[in-house]
Subunit: 337 residues, 2 copies
């Protein structure tokens, strides 16, 4: 049985969507049990709205909630009775195998590092997001925001971790790893990427060279490695630019009658397009490098997204991703900075 603890009070739609997502996950998988962490009364009330296998859901009571306005470090240190801290403590104490939270990203990062701790040898845990590619697959973008300033070795470790994930969870035999860069040629780059390039050549991964931003979603890469500042730009711009383009197109589609009718007829195509870009199918963003399975669900996750995040945690555990990462990291030379 894979034991997943869910921060019932993290995210825009908490706790209703978390509880509904938990119930959905139980009906999808026989080998999962869920602990809902947060205010017991409220959780019980939400649970009362659903039918589920009571033997596989339990509650871990927590009085407090960490919200996005809290400073991450202070919140983790001071809000000892928050749903997030208690859930992370359960993972650290091996009372749960995985945590799913849609709460403050900063608090989850800080909390996971301080409470669950890093895998031995890992310099910095990294947040990894999955983006849909042009060819119908998924690209793992790592780091997409945990580390704004990176040293070369961090990116080498990111590549190893994401490769293990894409292999174990997404079933890709030999994930092609690209290095986000400002040119395709090996000698291109800024100080960081120039130093990272040879480290990726030495790493036990399938290094596919530099990836210019134009090619990010081409389908030619399964993993894209970058510092957390650039990764954050790519992640948020993917969201923002997609929305901008579709909104601009919508403006034009309602600007004349013929186009309007055309748009109505083409609705199924737009719907399929939306589904292709739907992150709720794939779960959340794993925080890789932590001594446990940590899944950051999107802040606006609905029940389906939460159940996908549980599925993702289950696959992470079933494939023993950390069991693959740990020896691979130990085998790499430590560059000491």
């Amino acid at each position: 049985m894979y034991r997943v603890i869910m921060d019932a009070f993290g995210g825009d739609n908490a706790p209703a969507a978390v509880v509904e997502g938990a119930v959905k996950a139980l009906s999808r998988f026989d080998d999962v049990s869920i602990i809902l962490c947060g205010m017991e009364n409220t959780i019980r009330e939400e649970l009362g709205k659903h039918q589920y296998d009571t033997s596989r859901i339990s509650i871990l009571h927590a009085e407090e909630v960490i919200d996005c306005h809290d400073s991450p470090t202070l919140a983790i240190k001071r809000k000892k009775n928050s749903s997030l801290v208690k859930a992370l403590e359960a993972v650290a104490a091996k009372e749960a195998d995985a945590i799913v939270s849609a709460g403050s990203t900063g608090a989850l990062l800080t909390g996971a590092t301080l409470i669950v701790r890093r895998i031995k040898g890992i310099k910095r845990p990294a947040l990894a997001s999955l983006l849909p590619t042009r060819t119908g697959g998924w690209l793992m973008l790592i780091d997409c925001g945990a580390n704004a300033d990176c040293k070369p070795q961090y990116l080498q470790q990111f590549a190893v971790m994401a490769s293990a994930y894409m292999q174990g969870v997404m079933g890709i035999k030999s994930p092609r790893v690209g290095l986000l860069n400002n040119g395709a040629e090996a000698e291109k780059g800024n100080e960081l990427t120039k130093a990272v390039y040879p480290l990726l050549e030495e790493a036990p991964i399938n290094f596919a060279g530099n990836c210019e931003a134009r090619e990010i979603l081409s389908g030619d890469y399964d993993v894209l490695v970058c510092d957390g500042f650039s990764g954050n730009v790519v992640l948020k711009y993917t969201e923002g630019l997609s929305a901008t383009i579709l909104a601009m197109l919508k403006d034009e589609l309602i600007a004349d009658t013929k186009s309007k009718i055309g748009a109505l007829l083409a609705k199924p195509a737009f719907r399929r397009m939306k589904k292709k870009m739907d992150y709720t199918e794939v779960g959340g963003a794993p925080l890789l490098g932590i001594n446990g399975c940590v899944i950051k669900a999107h802040g606006s996750s609905d029940a389906k997204a939460f159940s996908s995040a549980v599925m993702q945690a289950r696959q992470f555990l079933a494939a023993d991703i950390n069991g693959t990462i740990a020896p691979a990291i130990e085998a790499l030379p430590d560059l000491k900075d």
Copy 2:
């Protein structure tokens, strides 16, 4: 008369598109004269295909061509008889006021810096691109690739230069300057952006705070300041992601008959959309900080794009952008690194 020299042998469609663009520009503006730089015979041949005011076009013969495979620095130093070097020398010698080139970006950057030289006090010239925003305006992205590694003061200078441009050329009274960052709050960022923030507060610009990548094209900013690595990511991803989304949508639009008919009817909307995103309307990317007007035209520029680039050079000169930049830079404290 504004004297614009064009590198007739730069770009995918050179020399035909350059020559046609020059002729187009002459018919659009009375106060422009053009020098076409490159192999005289070929240029004469191309000119023979058009009718134009012969008193306003001249040719500066150059034997060699710098291509994208040449190393920029070596090419500038060794290919003394190339169309690019000769054109830049003409600007340096004040025989031309502006240069338009669609050739190698690296060679243009290096050549402009070495031959035409920087405005006094400018640490690093920067390449600035214009992106269409959600609200129908334009955003100047600076630096979009000239400087992969930046010091804080560079970005302060970029902000001053781009503000001068958006004011003088695009007619925006008080351009709103955003700092590309990984969070909206003032204290967010990597080492670089944290150091840049107070410098932008002190600069004589309309600083509108941090801009998350989600908001790049929102229309809330007229200038977006960033290091050249991130800017290159944003610029190329804008191109790549737009193409990906429209291609994915196209795939879906032809996947069922109803959508196919819908797409046919909605063609005018798609056409208007394309026009909105059309860079050929706005010209090229100015290289700001050089002691002259340097316009990098898109490599795939057609005649219209070249004539827009000439228009852009004309506006740059008419508004005396460098006359605004120079004293503003001199008034800023020099941080010495």
